[in-house]
């Protein structure tokens, strides 16, 4: 249930995320020592244009990537097809984007 366009969206979003995921893993390994607190997270991210861009692009890419990935799984394992499948893909993409955008704004805006 992937045509060329969806395939390219899936692969391009994956390529965009390569440096972002590697950066995210590095930050996790760095930040986890000594436990996490909202003050610690916010002091790193709040008011930073860099982290806003970093996680903003990340959220856009992951919304596309996860929506298409789940679309394939739902089709192959649950047999959903047609308009219902397209609707589900777009809904997942939109919900992830909105929730992700809220999270990015929460931790980066002053």
């Amino acid at each position: 249930m992937l045509d060329l366009r969806l395939y390219m969206a899936q692969r391009i979003s994956a390529m965009v995320m390569i440096p972002l995921v590697l950066g995210h893993i590095a930050v996790m390994i760095y930040a986890i020592q000594g436990g996490l607190s909202s003050a610690e997270i916010l002091s790193r991210t709040q008011g930073s244009a860099f982290w806003f861009l970093f996680y903003g692009v990340f959220v856009v890419a992951v919304s596309v990537h996860a929506a298409i990935g789940l679309r394939v799984i739902v089709h192959e394992w649950l047999g959903l097809r047609g308009i219902a499948l397209s609707l589900l893909t777009w809904t997942i993409c939109l919900v992830l984007f909105v929730m992700g955008a809220r999270a990015v704004m929460a931790v980066t805006l002053l």
Partner: protein
């Protein structure tokens, strides 16, 4: 009963990629929701983050780091397979992706505890 043709290394790599992707996609909404608490209810976020001190949560976090890592390094192998000239070392590369992921998530766990 016809059983599917399984248990060769690249099929297992496929299953790992699919299940890790599925788990990460299902985890994302919870991740986003928790972080958005910073905007609305910072005390509640701190309360939730204090749970992260329990060993069970640390093991779960280790699992998440492993899943993310194995998904990206497995995905890098697939991107190379599709867009670079063919390499016959696919099984070694798939095993390498798991190795790096164990290393990174192990490093995470060691720093977490």
């Amino acid at each position: 009963m016809i059983r599917p043709s399984r248990s060769h290394p690249l099929w297992l790599a496929f299953v790992l990629h699919r299940l890790s992707g599925l788990a990460l996609a299902l985890f994302l909404p919870a991740h986003f929701w928790l972080l958005s608490l910073a905007l609305t209810q910072p005390q509640r976020l701190d309360h939730m983050l204090s749970f992260a001190e329990s060993p069970v949560v640390k093991i779960a976090e280790f699992g998440l780091v492993f899943l993310l890592s194995v998904h990206i390094f497995g995905g890098l192998r697939l991107l190379a397979l599709e867009f670079l000239p063919w390499s016959n070392r696919q099984k070694s590369l798939a095993a390498g992706a798991i190795g790096i992921s164990l290393l990174l998530s192990g490093l995470f766990l060691l720093r977490a505890i």
